[in-house]
Each structure stands twice: as structure tokens, then as C-alpha cells.
Amino acid sequence: MQEFKINAQQKTSRELNRAIKKAAPENDRIIIENPNAMHYIAAGLTESVELVIDGSAGYFVGTMIHGARVHINGNAGWFPADNMTEGEVIIDGSAGDGVGQGIYGGTVVVRKSVGSRTGEIMKNGTIIVGGNSGFMSGLFMMGGRIIILGDISEDAGESIIRGTIYVGGDIKSLGKNAKIEELEEEEKGELRELLEGYDFHLEEEKYQNFRKIVPRSARPFYGQESEEGK
């Protein structure tokens, strides 16, 4: 295991990202010390490296990563993992609005609660939130899955087109084009396997209480549903 440490103190976001990208090809793990909630950490990182941020990150941590595994030992600001195509972003604390905005693939895990618009315009991939998720979670979601272990706030799944939002707690209200369905037993098994893999150990009763939010229609605004092959 080749490990490399970078002290972010006194560095700008650009200088830090330059140092990360320089170190990534030659190391298995990079540790960022004193991140001090800096914005844009690991932006555009395309190496399959493990990046440990030893503290909180600011806005857009892990934006546009492809293959990197980013672990944040603190909180994150708005839009963590924005537009990630492949990889993993794990946040031990809480996060702000737009977690996993527009992701094409990969997995985002937030251990505590998050802000609003979680998974907006996401196309694929997985977002797991250990706590609650706010207003308009899954806004214009176009694929993938969001798993909220706590409660989901107003207008959940607003204008959802494809994909699934699994909710373990209360659903305050649904957005346009969203409806609630019960889970198949097979889906509960898939959830259990996925969540156990990320150290979420839930009681069986919790799995029985999960519900999912899915689209009412794949073409809610214009066109014919038959164009979607249905």
C-alpha cells in the first residue's frame, strides 16, 4: 500500500487538486490533511485511487470523478459527487443540498442527514443517506436509485422520470409524477445486501417498512409513452 499525504493548509483549491492529480498515479491512497471545508476537492479526479479527506469538505467535493474512492471524515457542503461517472464518495457526517446531483454512475453514501434536492437530475448510480433528506429529493431524477433510511421531506420525487427512491421513514409529500409502491421481497434482499456492504445494519422490521417512490409516467410532460417502448 503506497500512501501519500498532502497538507491542504495554505493551498488554494486549484493547487490542492493539482497536487492530488500528480500523486494519484503513483499511490494507492492519498490523505488530505487540514481540508478546512475547502471547495472542489478532487474535482475531475480520474485515477482509481483512494482519497481520504481528514475533515470536512466544502462545495462540489468529488465533482466529475471517474473511478476514485473518496472518503470524507467529516461533513460536506452542497453538491458532493456532482456528475460523478464512476467511483465512490463516502461522507461520515452530514451534507448540504444536491447530494449526487446529475451522477451517471458510482455510489454516494452520507451517514447522517442531507439538505434538499438530493439526486436531482441523476441518470444512474446509487445514493444512500443514513438520516433524512430534504425538499424535492429526486428532482427530475432520470435513473438510478436513492435510498433514504430516515424521512424524506416535501415534494419527494418532483417530476421524476425514471429511477427509484427507497424511503425507510416518513414521506411528507410527493411531487408531480411521483407515486408510492410497496417493495417486492427480492428488492428488500437487494437493499439489505447493499446496505450491509456499507455498514448500515438495520433490523428486519425496518426492511418491511421500506416503501419506494417511482414515476407515474415516463413521458409526463410531452410525447407518447409508446415512444418509450411500453
Binding site: 471545508a37 471547495h39 448540504g96 439538505g115 425538499f135
Partner: protein
């Protein structure tokens, strides 16, 4: 964008609040480079009817004397200080003794009539420091880090709604009731709908800046015996647009966020401190932030001492 921050020391004792707010705003400097400002509460130590005026005066022969004469004609100047010029303007600070708060706004309007002079603010329980430029430069010019107090709000400005100058730097103040200040990140899109009824009630607007509209609105509600929490809750229902703003009062601070949650707001709290800001990076300057909370769309938070 713009950065906003607020902090309250819960024990009501004096703390180096200027130093803490300088750090918070410096951490938010990237959100706005145009100007910055502070409202530092609790450290002025003025007697009951004493008020501190901050007046911007162009460096022109005889103009400062004219200002002093105008103030002195109405009320005696008890003490004075001059912050040196950076752009052919000085800041003249003077302390006056009024018979009542209701005399403050008329005095300010009289001084404002002098050409090339503008009163930045008049206050009893807080010190207003605001200027164009970067947080650290402003803090150095005004010795902000030496200022003590119980609580404070602050702002780093990215101008979108009006010109960049000292007067339009935040905080904005209302004289409807004493010592209400606001710092703001965003836009109020139903500005005129909010402003019109306030003007019909006689409240005087000095600018077309939407932040001034917020501070008058909140002050008007407080004058009707709304609590700070109630005023903030009602403001979120009445105001449209993307916004988050922080209100400072003689007794505390509060934050409100628009119902679509289009502007950021986070808070953290422990036994000693209540802090709110645009981003965690500012909260970290005053406390351990292992647990921070996102302010939800349409939500308000406040802490009074």
C-alpha cells in the same frame, strides 16, 4: 452569491466578537470580493441616549467642518474620530447625545442633505463597520479585531442589485425601531410588493436595494411586537425569490431561508456559542463543527440572549 454570518455568545458577556467575525467573513471571502461589513453588538458601552454616527465625507476644504456644524447645531458632539481616507473620502465618527431615538433619523437626514456626505449609520447598541474591499483590509483599517461584544452579524458582498460603495455594503439598518440590521444573500423578487405598504405607513427608503426592504420589513414586524422568530417566519411567507438573510437585533441574531431553498444556510451550536453562516467553513472559525445542521427551505432559526 455573497457570504453571510452570525454569531452569539450565550453567556451575554463580552467576547472578542470582532476577531471572530473577521475570521468568519475571511473564510467566506470567496463568496464576494466587492465589499464587506460588520454589525458588532454589545461592546459600545454608550449611555442611555448616546448614539454613534458613521459619516462618509469627501475630502474637500471646509466640508468636514460643515458636517460638524450641522450635527452640533442640533446636538452637541461628545467625542469624535476620523478613519483616514482611501478614495478621497474619510469616515467621520462622532458620538452625540439625543433626547430620544426618534431624533436619530431626522438628524441623519439633515446631514445627508450636505453634498458629498452620506451617513452610513447611527447606532446605540452596535458598531457598524462596512467598506469596499477585502475583509482583512477593512478589519485592519477599522481595528475590527479589537472590538468586543456579545453577538454580531457580517457580510462579504458579490454585488448584483446595486452599485459597489460603502453605503450599499451590508449590513443595512432600519430606524423604525433601534438597532436592527440585516445581511443578505440573494434577491427579493416581489420587492415592490413588500416596499409599497411599508412606505404608505411612513417608513423611509433610502435606496432601491432589496436588502433595505428586508430590514424595514423585519423592523416593522418587531415594532408590532412580533418576536424575532415570528418576524422571520412571516417574512419567509411574504417574500419571494432566492434568498437567505441574517438579522441582528440588540438581543440576538436569526436567519431565514427562501421556500425553495435556493440559497445556502448552515448552523452549529454548543453550550457557549450559536453560529450561522452560508458555509461550514465559516462556522469552523468559532467552534468545533462535527455536527452542523442545514437550514431547510423556508426554515428560520434564531437565538436571543
Amino acid at each position: 452569491m455573497c457570504g453571510i454570518a452570525g454569531v452569539v455568545f450565550k453567556d451575554k458577556k463580552l467576547h472578542p466578537v470582532g476577531k471572530f467575525m473577521t475570521r468568519m467573513l475571511d473564510a467566506l471571502q470567496h463568496r464576494g470580493p466587492d465589499s464587506a461589513g460588520f454589525a458588532l453588538y454589545g461592546g459600545l458601552g454608550l449611555r442611555e441616549h448616546e448614539y454613534l454616527l458613521n459619516i462618509e465625507v469627501k475630502e474637500k476644504p471646509g466640508l468636514l467642518e460643515n458636517v460638524k456644524s450641522t450635527v452640533n447645531t442640533a446636538f452637541q458632539i461628545e467625542s469624535e474620530e476620523i478613519i483616514p481616507s482611501v478614495e478621497n473620502y474619510i469616515i467621520y465618527r462622532c458620538k452625540v447625545n439625543l433626547e430620544s431615538f426618534s431624533q436619530l433619523k431626522p438628524l441623519i437626514m439633515d446631514v445627508d442633505k450636505i453634498e458629498d456626505v452620506i451617513v452610513l449609520n447611527g447606532a446605540h447598541s452596535f458598531e457598524m463597520i462596512k467598506d469596499v474591499g477585502l475583509v482583512k483590509d477593512i478589519a485592519a483599517r477599522y481595528n475590527t479585531e479589537d472590538k468586543m461584544g456579545t453577538h454580531a452579524i457580517g457580510h462579504t458582498r458579490f454585488s448584483t442589485e446595486s452599485i459597489v460603495d460603502r453605503y450599499h455594503a451590508h449590513p443595512f439598518q432600519s430606524y423604525i425601531i433601534p438597532d436592527i440590521t440585516v445581511v443578505h444573500n440573494g434577491q427579493i423578487t416581489n420587492y415592490w410588493k413588500i416596499r409599497d405598504p411599508l412606505e404608505r405607513k411612513g417608513h423611509i427608503f433610502e435606496t432601491d436595494n432589496d436588502t433595505e426592504c428586508i430590514v424595514h420589513y423585519i423592523a416593522d414586524k418587531l415594532s408590532q411586537n412580533y418576536s424575532l422568530e415570528e418576524a422571520l417566519e412571516q417574512s419567509v411567507k411574504d417574500m419571494d425569490g432566492p434568498f437567505s438573510y441574517i438579522v441582528g437585533t440588540p438581543n440576538g441574531v436569526g436567519i431565514a431561508k427562501d421556500q425553495l431553498g435556493l440559497r445556502p444556510g448552515v448552523m452549529a451550536e454548543n453550550d457557549e456559542v450559536f453560529a450561522i453562516a452560508s458555509e461550514e467553513v465559516a462556522l469552523r472559525e468559532v467552534m468545533d463543527t462535527s455536527d452542523i445542521e442545514q437550514i431547510s427551505p423556508g426554515e428560520t432559526r434564531a437565538y436571543t440572549i
